[in-house]
Subunit: 380 residues, 3 copies
């Protein structure tokens, strides 16, 4: 995948210049996964770009989750402290693919830390209209900011971005907010946080079902890669044949020794087997030519009665937006602790706040403040 | 009206889920006006959602107007104090119908109180593109905010919104910034403020002319409902037959005992009768299929010479945007105290600031601060 | 030019009202250049509107450049001080023409001074959809702000804006962020800053080449007008015949006694003659009907080997976005001090910050703070 050029990136109007730039980018892409991970890591071993779930380790995820929990509490008790932490830092939220949901999650997260935020949400308002290659746009935009968040339809936009940013000598952190059908690492972090908070006993040995569009569900790919970090995980990929897991992710799971079971005949028999989480997804048909025409197979719907077949401790979640894959009645259960769909939305905001705190090195301050608050509360 | 389903709300791609949700919403809609008002009121009897002019009483309007006046003065003298009041509160301005005017009025008002603001102004950038029902979008968006402002083409979006928000157990205030052709309550408040400031002697016994599109002018509907709170009001509905007042509003006026006179043959003879306000409106032809084709009848234009026929104390205003319904020369009168069109724009900003101060319970602080400033200025 | 009415301004749906307004505007336009400059100047002789490069003098430019340098340093050392200067001031960034680049430059600049910012970036979301003349929209928008920045396709939008704002008695500063093909004065300031910083010895006597679309390149027009303020400048207008300098600018240069040499056969022989700056531009074909079809003549490309033919001290720059007019390899020179394209982007942000500091009278405070910082650093 990484060595092909993606037609969803705009290389500008000049064929000569485009060819030149493409050749340079291809060189960059030919680096090994280890080299790419290194390009995303600073000299102290901390990630400076968040582009792929495969760059995460348990220590990083632990740091983010603990920071998210701390930030949530500090915001409630000492909102002004939290908002004072990153007033000197700035971010551009660049959404070339429509998503008010993820945009608002990022922007709110950044606001909680006091960051200066700008956005580009409508590609039509950008310089591409004047024939500017995206490489130049990104470099120009980066001039004004300490970090950039991008959502983009191209599968390789994450690599493209860190390549384009490397042409400048300014240091700008890049966060992938969803690139094509491949990766959505911050969604991976938020789901991990939800799993972890729901299973205080730990995730080792647990089973998970990923249901729906395993082929193109970028959240599924990011989630599975993260789960390989745990011991004895069993992953059920529950999808019709033509939407079954892509080869790249399957190979990744094999290499990491994570057990994968593909189920193509429906969700029903899988529900009672899961003690971790049932993770529903919609068909990603914006990638299809017959968008909206593809019918969701009812055998893969989470029906209301399946709540009764769930194992104790197991949860139900969905990255949203959802369509018909979860039975409509589920939305009207107000207090069922197993239905995590909506709470996950807020988890996303806090894990994203934690991610920016981490990128700008104030995550320890947040955790420290939380410890102080807890101690003060415990002192009589 | 309230028991029909509005096709302008998007219920998602799945017919089964849409039918389920619609049934639930219809149940909610079947509540009595009193029940709906109660759903918009907190346990202390204060409004927590601003959706309909019929929920306002004179005490509420008095509170908002006095707070608006105070906020205006405090902003001039102690801007930082005002901006410190709601730094911990946040709002989403969600405009599914184009309006930079109302958007900027709200956003500026909120900024004066220090609120964190985000916006969605282009429906194309939203999750609806992925087949998500608006019920889910609203619920997701509400996760990040303490309040939501919406403008929407649907006549029942206000009810829809408080229904959708009731599915979550988070407490989020909703403000209707214009729903379909029915209601625009914050415009009603701003016009009331303008009327009140222009008539220090009080509004009881005054006459008002509402001119133009009485059928679909949501600002007209909100204004008339508010005026019924006063004694001995006479309302002239000045519009051609096919744009005369809708039955619902007419019945409302009757029930409240407010005198209504329908005039269908032009504005000319009405002008000398009005001692309150002449309220001009444009034809709301965005609701028509032959948008822009319908000619405004010249008999309903406010002509320059009508300024000479106005009674002392009467004012001329318009909710804007205007087209031909006010003669062009009027815009070039710079200091005529009767022409309130443009001053009303700023009144709108301050009454909206007051509305948010009220919703988050800091309205008394603003009025208190103003009293302190006045006292300090009076002390030698 | 200034006495014709521009069809790119929207005058509303009513022919009668449009005719009336147009007549009023034409009257305003018929003022002499001196009268127009005076309308842009306050009683102390300071500019209050930034609409045309011809309004600048060397003292003004010196003030902006020194303030920009100071702001840049103060931001690094005392960011909070800088951000406290204009918290009471507000601005609307109104971009009726797409440009995320210039928008972000302005918005970031304003944020550095702590200004409250709002934006309208998508004309479709505006009141024009309801038939409102732009004169009214501008006046409404101005109600909420202390200043307005506009980019607009009309050549006379700058005059139109200060005319429309003059109908109100509120004092609002207007900044032209690019009007049609005529003027882009803040780009002129930023380029001047880049030239000046690259030539500490001064710009008198220097030669400059402006390459590409001299006919419609509004940045070229603004730049040339500014350079006439210096002694013994030689300007090369390097463009194919059909894109050569417009008559208005040529006449302006003649009147100011600035030497102009038109070169129509390519850039090659000009490079070794330039000791100031080589200023490349793209073909502004958004003004053409055959947009994107017009091929850039290779003789006007800045080729990589031309770097070797440049005179010592000369620099290469471009207002961006660029297409094929600069050879692709140039983007990969990371440290060449002559290639100023990307550094100019950041210069733009700081000169825009300086411009707002000047408009709101805090420019001297910024320079003063910088002097204090320097002194403190020098004290042992």
């Amino acid at each position: 995948m990484n060595n092909t050029l993606d037609s969803k990136i705009y290389w500008g109007e000049s064929e000569i210049n485009a060819a030149y730039d493409k050749a340079k980018f291809q060189e960059f892409q030919q680096q090994s996964p280890e080299q790419i991970k290194q390009a995303c890591t600073d000299k102290n071993g901390r990630l400076k770009h968040i582009i792929r779930a495969e760059h995460f380790d348990l220590e990083f995820l632990e740091t983010i989750c603990e920071t998210a929990k701390a930030a949530r509490r500090v915001a409630k008790l000492e909102d002004k402290y939290l908002k004072s932490l990153l007033t000197g830092k700035s971010v551009l939220n660049y959404f070339a693919q429509e998503s008010s949901r993820t945009f608002l999650s990022f922007s709110t997260a950044q606001a909680h830390l006091g960051m200066r935020r700008e956005d580009v949400r409508d590609i039509k308002t950008s310089s591409q209209m004047k024939g500017e290659p995206e490489k130049d746009s990104l470099r120009t935009h980066s001039s004004y900011f300490n970090s950039i968040v991008c959502r983009h339809p191209s599968d390789v936009y994450d690599l493209f971005a860190i390549w384009a940013l490397s042409l400048s000598d300014r240091s700008v952190s890049f966060v992938n907010a969803g690139s094509g059908s491949k990766e959505h690492p911050t969604q991976g972090i938020l789901d991990y946080y939800t799993f972890r908070e729901s299973h205080k006993e730990g995730l080792d040995g647990k089973s998970f079902a990923f249901v729906g569009d395993a082929l193109r569900g970028r959240t599924i790919h990011s989630n599975m890669k993260i789960l390989t970090l745990h011991q004895d995980i069993t992953i059920y990929s529950v999808a019709p044949k033509h939407l079954q897991l892509d080869e790249e992710t399957e190979t990744y799971l094999q290499q990491k020794g994570t057990k994968l079971i593909k189920v193509t005949d429906g969700l029903k028999d899988v529900v009672p087997l899961i003690d971790g989480a049932i993770y529903m997804t919609r068909i990603q048909d914006e990638h299809d030519k017959d968008k909206g025409k593809q019918k969701y197979d009812p055998k893969f719907i989470f029906e209301e009665e399946m709540l009764n077949q769930m194992r104790p401790g197991a949860i139900l979640t969905h990255p949203l937006p959802k369509r018909e894959e979860i039975a409509p009645g589920i939305d009207y259960y107000k207090k069922d602790p197993r239905i995590m769909l909506w709470r996950a939305v807020r988890n996303g905001m806090w894990t994203r706040a934690a991610t920016f705190a981490y990128l700008f090195g104030v995550d320890d301050q947040i955790r420290g403040q939380y410890e102080r608050i807890k101690k003060a509360a415990a002192t009589p």
